[in-house]
């Protein structure tokens, strides 16, 4: 479409405005995460530090802040007790405080949570790829009594919201002593009616001729599934994998109900606990949030195309 210079300028202005809306919260969090204790709420965009010792008439003197007075600070010289107004510029300098990160890292076992999250998300993704592709193949290509009725039942359950399911699943896990275990978090996520539906729809678009040819060459049903259907379904499998992985990586409700042992938490649940304990200690909280966000951002930058394509496929086909 043709664009005049004015339109282009307007579009850039809009793009920049929306970028600010998305980027500013991150920058704000990042800056806060390296602020010094006591300087978190100074309302400035850079992490200032205060030195207690400054050069005064050629000598280094220890001082304490008494009061903030706009551009200056009222300070008491230790020893003599004399009060002086010192311009901020002389005593405050920019220096990021990375201690918030080491403290957050030491208080919260983020490394452990990261591994827990990886374990849970990987197994769920793998599980759904297996169960959903097997089921999807059965629904799309195999003949057996009751097939269509069962499939309809699957479709009907897509309407049921999560909360209806969670109470009974919780009770089931409790009955089998699976609460507070990794199995308890993972098992219910090894299957989904939605994933089965998604793959069934995709398998139906694969030409039957290929399958027939393989059958004539003596391949069994499982051989066809493994060597024809799966290799041809790369995009659909990738989309489902992205969908399940991101979903379980970010899931909060379910793991927060099942897991109570502080060593077993997933990243989001662990961070939420941290948030409840260090209420309003924003320096550390922002550092913890940044630690949690970093792997996801890295994942996005690496698999960008993959992820957006996955979102479009799983979203639109639902």
């Amino acid at each position: 479409m043709r664009r005049g210079p004015l339109t282009t300028a307007f579009f850039y202005a809009m793009l920049l405005a929306f970028s600010a809306w998305y980027v500013v919260p991150f920058v704000w969090a990042l800056v806060t995460s390296v602020k010094h204790p006591g300087m978190v709420f100074d309302g400035r965009w850079l992490p200032y530090a205060r030195s207690q010792a400054i050069m005064l008439e050629g000598k280094e003197v220890e001082m304490r802040i008494v009061e903030e007075r706009g551009d200056a600070l009222l300070m008491r010289i230790s020893g003599t007790g004399e009060l002086r107004e010192i311009p901020r510029a002389e005593i405050e300098h920019i220096s990021p405080n990375w201690k918030n990160y080491t403290e957050a890292w030491n208080i919260v076992p983020f490394g452990r949570y990261f591994l827990n999250s990886i374990l849970v998300s990987m197994l769920m993704t793998l599980g759904q790829l297996i169960t959903c592709s097997l089921g999807g193949y059965a629904f799309s290509r195999l003949q057996f009594p009751g097939r269509d009725a069962i499939f309809l039942l699957y479709l009907a359950t897509l309407m049921i919201p999560g909360p209806v399911l969670t109470v009974p699943i919780y009770l089931l896990l409790r009955e089998y002593r699976l609460l507070n275990t990794y199995q308890g978090v993972i098992l219910p996520g090894l299957f989904s009616a939605y994933g089965t539906f998604l793959l069934r729809q995709f398998f139906q678009t694969i030409p039957r001729d290929l399958e027939d040819a393989a059958r004539i060459d003596g391949a069994g049903r499982f051989g066809v599934y493994l060597r024809i259907i799966l290799p041809l379904s790369g995009p659909a499998l990738a989309a489902l994998a992205t969908f399940v992985f991101i979903g379980s990586w970010n899931d909060f409700f379910w793991p927060s109900i099942v897991l109570t042992d502080p060593d077993m938490l997933t990243l989001p649940v662990g961070l939420a606990h941290f948030n409840d304990i260090y209420l309003f200690e924003y320096g550390r909280l922002m550092a913890g949030s940044m630690i949690t966000i970093a792997p996801a951002v890295a994942m996005y930058l690496l698999f960008q195309r993959f992820i957006t394509r996955g979102v479009v496929m799983t979203g639109l086909k639902g």
């Binding site: 359950t157 109470v167 699943i169 409700f253 309003f280 949690t292 966000i293 996005y300 957006t308 479009v312």
Partner: protein, 292 residues
């Protein structure tokens, strides 16, 4: 022949089996079980007692039940749906112009889709902080007074909604962007030849062709908004402080007070609400969808 059919059936069931076990244990079984226990009084420590429809009646009549309040809050959060769609469509439209630097903007706009809601809610909790938050600092510089975004009963839902729109619009933006890329350029070229302005083209070509996308995002958005949990939970440190919706109440009743029957009844009411809203949506808006 009969033998062959039997074998076919067996193979079919074998393929379906692992999937079907999951379906039985984690979907259809829980649905039936949940329905049954919604008619029982059960606190996990003593045997369940059949109470008929008392759980459902308690929702509406008991003095401790705040059903109207919870329902009102659940419905309030529906405002995030049109807000998300508007932000997402604008962003997607701008990206679709393929201006120089679009690649970078795309990363910025789409990245929230992979981020967990917990760190985002924590960051927004700070942005919305009454004394030192970014938003209040900004508002003050425009001469607006401080707003207790996360404590004031009238503002807390707005505060949470802001964060939900911020994060949720990334998903919708990706979907809109894909849909916009599917609209052939020729349509715009022809319209431009006829002298249609960009504004006119947007309303008479882009919007109608996007109706399936609007419809899809609308219905999934409504279903998602009615199940909003993590942002409310995290931004209020589990207290929900006046922003309780039906699902926070389900969580509270089931896992804090162990009233399993009552929580199940409540979750069925939530299902009914989702079902009714989706059905209305389907009935009245489906007709407006144009398929090109």
């Amino acid at each position: 022949m009969k033998n062959a059919t039997f074998r076919h059936a067996l193979v079919g069931y074998a393929f379906l089996l692992p999937n079907f076990i999951g379906f039985l244990l984690f979907t259809i079984g829980p649905i039936l079980f949940s329905f049954v226990i919604s008619f029982f009084d059960w606190n996990l420590f003593s045997a369940p007692v059949f109470v008929d429809t008392a759980n459902y009646q308690a929702l509406f009549t008991s003095t401790s039940s705040r059903f109207g309040f919870l329902l009102g809050n659940s419905l309030f959060f529906l405002i995030v749906v049109p807000a998300q769609m508007a932000v997402a469509l604008t962003v997607a439209y701008l990206l679709n112009e393929n201006l120089r630097g679009s690649l970078l903007f795309k990363v910025i706009f789409f990245i929230p889709v992979v981020l967990s809601v917990i760190p985002i809610a924590i960051i927004w909790g700070y942005i919305l902080d009454t004394e030192n938050g970014l938003l209040n600092t900004l508002l003050m510089s425009f001469g607006v007074g401080k707003i207790a975004w996360l404590f004031d009963l009238t503002w807390i839902k707005t505060g949470i909604s802001l964060m939900v729109v911020w994060q949720g619009s990334a998903f919708s933006a990706i979907i809109y962007y894909a849909a916009l890329q599917g609209i052939p350029d020729q349509l715009y070229e022809v319209a431009a030849l006829d002298g249609a302005s960009r504004w006119k083209q947007f309303w008479s070509i882009t919007m109608p062709l996007l109706t399936p996308t609007h419809f899809f995002l609308g219905i999934t958005g409504v279903i998602g908004a009615l199940q909003l949990f993590a942002p409310i939970y995290v931004m209020t440190h589990g207290t929900a402080g006046g922003a309780q919706n039906l699902i926070v109440e389900v969580y509270w009743k089931a896992y804090q007070e162990f009233q399993m029957g009552y929580a199940s009844a409540l979750s069925w009411i939530l299902f009914l609400l989702i079902f009714i809203l989706s059905a209305f949506y389907w009935k009245y808006l489906r007709r407006k969808v144009e398929y090109a």
